[in-house]
């Protein structure tokens, strides 16, 4: 019997799906070959270890979270489908030719704003439009190991927790926001755009939260169950460091606080 057939027999026997004839054939093979006995013992060891592994209980709030999310989504107004939006524009074109010129102008302006936004490092995102981790020239290539934590605030409220940390280095700052919050909670980070530039934003995991990054403001509306983390890369425009303001609008109400942005060792 070749190795492949023997291996299949051994697996079937240990899996409990071998026929009596196959079991007998395996017994004969094992009786006649020391190598086969060693291989069978090793494979049996793997089965034994896997059988000893215990099933873990799921978190007690798993079902409740899913049911809550289902209820929440059931009352959400559905987003209009793209076709009807296009159709309404086409209809406007047909009935009012002047609308065509206005539309062309608006589209051109939107393109210019988008180009400016990308070039200046400000990203405007919305789930479903751009929800991936932000990469490219705007994203610093190095990790966070060269930064040290200079300030942190923890916000706890019913059903949620948000940890805001300021990581600082010589060249810049990273505000790390780690949130586990009920759906609908809004986490707003604001800063003085005269003193700080938002260079990039990275999220983990790629979650369907509504994210808006504008001049001096990052806003995240939680739609994803579970933990989400945002890394907001900031560049200083000068030595002075006005604080970063954090405001969390949860079902419990508003909680807020500030994070220092002063450069390490600046003493001011």
């Amino acid at each position: 019997m070749n190795d492949r057939k023997l291996q299949r027999l051994m697996n079937d026997q240990l899996d409990g799906i071998a026929t009596p004839a196959e079991s007998e054939r395996l017994r004969r093979e094992l009786a006649s070959s020391e190598d086969a006995r060693i291989e069978y013992r090793n494979l049996g060891g793997v089965f034994d270890v896997l059988n000893r592994a215990e099933m873990e209980d799921p978190p007690p709030d798993l079902k409740q979270n899913v049911m809550q999310a289902i209820r929440h989504r059931a009352v959400t107004v559905p987003v209009p489908v793209r076709r009807s939006w296009l159709e309404s524009i086409k209809a406007a074109f047909r009935t009012r030719p002047a609308f065509g010129y206005a539309y062309s102008f608006a589209a051109g302006a939107a393109l210019a704003i988008l180009t400016f936004t990308l070039l200046s490092g400000n990203l405007l995102t919305k789930s479903g439009v751009e929800s991936g981790p932000f990469t490219g020239t705007m994203l610093p290539a190095s990790g966070l190991s060269h930064l040290r934590r200079t300030d942190s605030r923890e916000f706890t409220f019913r059903g949620g927790r948000v940890l805001a940390e300021m990581l600082s280095g010589r060249d810049g700052l990273v505000a790390r926001i780690t949130a586990r919050a009920p759906q609908g909670t809004e986490v707003e980070v604001s800063f003085d755009p005269g003193q700080l530039d938002a260079v990039a934003l990275r999220q983990h995991p790629v979650a369907p939260n509504d994210v808006l990054l504008g001049s001096g403001r990052l806003s995240v509306r939680i739609r994803h169950i579970g933990e989400s983390q945002y890394l907001l890369y900031l560049a200083r425009r000068g030595p002075a460091g006005s604080p970063l303001r954090i405001a969390i609008h949860s079902p419990d109400g508003l909680v807020q606080g500030e994070l220092e942005t002063r450069a390490p060792g600046s003493g001011s």
């Binding site: 291996q7 299949r8 697996n11 799906i17 060693i38 013992r41 090793n42 494979l43 060891g45 793997v46 089965f47 034994d48 270890v49 896997l50 059988n51 000893r52 592994a53 215990e54 099933m55 873990e56 209980d57 799921p58 978190p59 798993l62 079902k63 979270n65 899913v66 049911m67 999310a69 289902i70 209820r71 989504r73 981790p133 990790g143 966070l144 927790r161 940890l163 780690t178 586990r180 990275r202 983990h204 995991p205 790629v206 994803h224 169950i225 579970g226 933990e227 983390q229 890394l231």
Partner: protein, 181 residues
Amino acid sequence: MVEHEEDGLLDRCLAGDGGAYGQLIDRYQRALFNVSLRMVGNREDARDITQTVFLKAYENLGKFDRRHRFFSWVYRIMINESLNHLSRARRTEPLDETMASGQRGPDEDCARHRLHDSIQSALMDLSPDYRQVVVLRHFAQLSYHEMSSVLDVPEKTVKSRLHTARQLLGGILTRRGIVHS
């Protein structure tokens, strides 16, 4: 009997009875959570993935082909979500452990904990393709036929993949002194 009950629950879900979906969650949450846990190796991520899977299944219930078994479909979503998570995790910055809450209590039996960790770390050393067959067979207790339906590959492929996976796992466990040759 189980299939018949499940059909009834699905009918009720489609008619808008949320409670019926709650019963389906009760039925599968333990198995699905364990599949995810063994695939990604982290309780918090496994919880998030399991919740996402149940939500996705609910939202797509209308598209579910009733000629197939519900559990095959939901396991398939789970495997895809877990694989997506693993490939995303490779691309993005790892989260630090500041908010991890998966640690066990101090009264947990140490030997059992060690065995659990050893098995999990050996599983994580397998490629996702091999890991998923081990997990579906040994942790979800699926038959070859069911695995073939979940993974959408022929039974023969499932079998040969599983045999190779067990062999690789045996090598890893032996090198770590968990299985003695």
